[in-house]
Amino acid sequence: MDHILSATFLTGLLAAMMRMATPIIFGTLGEILSERAGVLNLGIEGIMLMGAMSGFLTTLHTGSLWLGVAAAALSGVLLALLMALLTVTLGLSQHVSGLGITLFSTGLAMFIYRLSVGSPVNPPTVTPFTQVALPALSSIPILGEAFFTQYALVYVAFLLIPVLWVLLYRTTWGLAIRTVGENPFAADTVGISVPLVRTLCLAAGGALMGVGGAFLTLAHQNMFLIDVVGGRGWISIAMVIFGNWDPVRGAAGALIFGLLDAFQLRLQALGVDLPFHLFLALPYVLTVVALVGVSRKSSAPAALLKPYRREEKG
């Protein structure tokens, strides 16, 4: 137990928390943006996987990590636009469309990956991102190494939290997005194009989800496996509810999840005599428990899940 309290243990734990939380922060922020405009994007799990795959392959073939990130964002945008076509333009069920996109992109990601690299015994790898120590900040004892010696994408994720918050609450666009998500009829009658806002939010959200996926294959690991995403998309959706559709609180939820995830890894490593599946389940179980407590007073955007068309009254 002394071990747990040591400085190195703490630094390692916090650093791992940041790494574990990052893809979920990307996913959560992307999902918040979509849902605030009134569209639940259940395609997130598949979009993250496509991001992981396209980012990996692009880097594998070009050698450029940032090109990989861009490709992941692009694939996210394209899939989100497909989602927009189904739910915004055609007004189909958001649940069915989202799950459809997840199934579709899971298959597609595997297909493209196989097509590109075949099925070698040892899966190909890329040289992943390396940690960047921020000058001055990284020399703070314990915390410096945990928070300020990280991958560039980690910094990007944490910067995006306040950016999204300011966008939603302090800009005219944000007010438009929130109004579209609460009462599209009201938005329409003040001249805001509901389909346009929803499509843009989905697209931008999709880009974030894609980058979240790419973080997994370009920084967290250095290869692509079919289960790299491993439910992080679904966890992001839970974090949106946990955070009551607020970027800061949603990201806080992602951090807590990251901490639990990092902690269970370490518990496993300590060799506690319990089946490791239990540890794996720990963060998820606690997420469910937390959701039960929080979602009672949740205030989902009022028009979430509701398609909007002008000629239909309501």
């Binding site: 005219t172 929130r178 109004t179 009201a186 003040v190 194009s193 000629e311 009254k313």
Partner: protein, 537 residues
């Protein structure tokens, strides 16, 4: 702002004239000698929804500074016509000219740019956002960051000018309906609307609030704003409008200057026949079927809205419960309907106490419930008309455990015919019906089931005069069959027309109960404002 308007009016190009319409404009003592050119001209407008023709060959014009009332039965196409002017619907045929220039609106954005504003029949507000946020949304003028300070200044200036007092920082859900109405008007004015469309703005207002609204409208008209005013209350139209246009079945059937018409003629034009002006003949009341005793109910904010209220309604009588909105009517109705659990007190229906917060017991014991908010508690908007008509009684339409579609259909056809529900067939989703027709569905469902007790909250809100006459007839019919009816209404005319006894609700308590025969509107009015009999005191 007003200075720019004047120059604008001079700058407009000469529009095509239509002498017949021109002659009917009231000659007002304005600066211009000749009749000013129309601000809006809608020509030969046609609009259909699938099979329903909502507007046909409609020519409508509006001049500066004019208040034009648009009348017509429920479903006549008033809202549709105005939605076309507002760019919300695209007309199938016809053209719109603004200041003599042909325009084609793809969305309300274009209409707003032409300085048209519309207050919709059903509010277009976001309850969780503040008044200020609701007002400024979509009017950024290209700015990226919200400039709340400037917005607040502009809003306050508007409020001062037009007397529309609401707290800019209050979340909209905390405002009473009258306050929300003000926010809607401010929203239009904030966008510098010079052509203002108000779709049944007074349907939800108390008499005093209506008077305030009219003051605002007069100020606006005096500043050169043109106003379209939709209402079913003819005396309001006579009071505020200069000109009246009557729509019937989507076609304009008459146009009058207010100075040369009266309520009687307007009612005639709308409905197509003389109104009987039904008043209840007093009857002998039987046993108490509904007894409320010592009822206390909290509102959403946790305060007592109904305080220790006791009231009996007897078989074969209508008790009218008058009062300004917000004095506990909604909470009382909710408690009676079983939608809100009272903190204390009992409700007894025909000798047996009703369990608290149990709506099904009300249905089982034959209480006819006509809720105030038809959109959320009265109807399932996504279900068909026929399904809505059997909603509480679908158990009676079963054959071997399955819904008997045929019987449901027949039932619906019968009621739609009886109650004159206008819809695109009995399978049409309820949300496609006009506001008045939605209310008729509820009335048809509740009154046709032969209720013992009827609790009706604002049963004719938003209905046209013909429909009101019909509804009143039906309520009296139910009474004559021996039903005990509690009529909760803010409309004194309605209260006086139907009630055998009149009670007044003020701040959650009964201020007094009077027999209709001896009650006067003055006395009831005093009670409604919380003043007990001055003379007796």
């Amino acid at each position: 702002m007003p200075t720019t308007v004047m120059t604008e009016r001079i700058a407009v190009r000469s529009p095509q004239k239509s002498p017949a319409v021109r002659a009917s404009f009231p000659v007002k003592a304005r600066e211009q000698e000749q009749v000013p050119e129309p601000v809006v001209e809608m020509r030969a407008i046609r609009k259909t929804f699938l099979d329903v023709v909502a507007n046909e060959r409609v020519n409508f014009s509006l001049r500066p500074g004019e208040i034009c009332a648009l009348l017509g039965e429920n479903g006549a196409g008033k809202t549709t016509l105005m939605n076309i002017l507002f760019g919300y619907y695209a007309a199938d045929e016809g053209e719109i000219l603004i200041h003599g220039k042909k325009v084609s609106f793809a969305s309300p954005r274009d209409a707003i740019a032409c300085r048209i504003g519309m207050v919709h029949q059903h509010f277009t507000l976001v309850p969780s956002q503040t008044v200020l946020e609701n007002v400024v949304v979509g009017s950024s003028g290209g700015r990226f960051f919200l400039d709340m300070k400037r917005a607040r200044e502009k809003l306050c200036a508007l409020q001062k000018r037009f007397g529309l007092a609401v707290d800019p920082d209050a979340p909209v859900w905390t405002l009473p309906i009258g306050g929300q109405q003000k926010v809607e008007i401010l929203k239009a004015l904030y966008r510098d609307a010079r052509i203002l469309i108000l779709d049944e703005p007074t349907a939800v207002l108390a008499p005093l609030e209506t008077r305030e609204l009219f003051d605002t409208l007069r100020t606006l008209a005096a500043e050169g704003c043109s106003i379209v005013f939709i209402s079913h209350k003819l005396y309001e139209v006579m009071e505020i409008a200069h000109r009246v246009v009557v729509l019937a079945k989507g076609v304009i059937c008459a146009e009058r200057s207010v100075s040369e018409t009266d309520e009687r003629e307007l009612a005639n034009l709308m409905v197509g026949h003389e109104l009987a002006g039904k008043t209840a003949t007093a009857r002998k009341a039987g046993a108490a079927l509904l007894s409320v005793s010592r009822l206390t109910v909290r509102n959403d904010k946790g305060l007592d809205a109904v305080k220790d209220l006791s009231l009996d309604v007897h078989s074969g009588e209508v008790v009218g419960l008058a009062g300004v909105s917000g004095n506990g009517q909604m909470e009382l109705a909710d408690a009676l309907f079983g939608l809100r659990v009272p903190t204390s007190g009992t409700i007894v229906l025909d000798g047996a106490a009703l369990p608290d917060g149990n709506p099904k017991s009300r249905v089982d014991r034959h209480m006819g419930r006509i809720p105030e908010d038809r959109m959320t508690t009265g109807l399932m908007l996504d279900l068909s008309v026929e399904d809505n008509l059997v909603m509480e009684h679908h158990g009676d339409f079963r054959r071997s455990g399955m819904l008997d579609r045929e019987a449901i259909g027949d039932h619906a056809e019968g009621l739609m015919c009886d109650f004159g529900i206008k819809a695109d067939g009995r399978r049409a989703p309820a949300r496609t019906l006009s506001g008045g027709n939605l209310q008729k569905i509820i009335l048809a469902r509740e009154l046709s089931a032969d209720p013992k007790v009827v609790v009706a909250a604002q049963p004719t809100r938003g209905l046209d005069v013909g429909a009101i006459e019909y509804v009143h007839g039906r309520i009296l019919e139910a009474r004559d069959r021996g039903a005990a009816t509690l009529l909760i209404s803010e409309d004194l005319d309605e209260i006086f027309a139907l009630s055998d006894r009149i009670a007044v609700l003020y701040e959650g308590r009964i201020m007094g109960i009077a027999d209709r025969k001896y009650a006067t509107k003055e006395q009831i009015g005093l009670w409604m404002s919380g003043i007990r009999d001055v003379l007796c005191a």
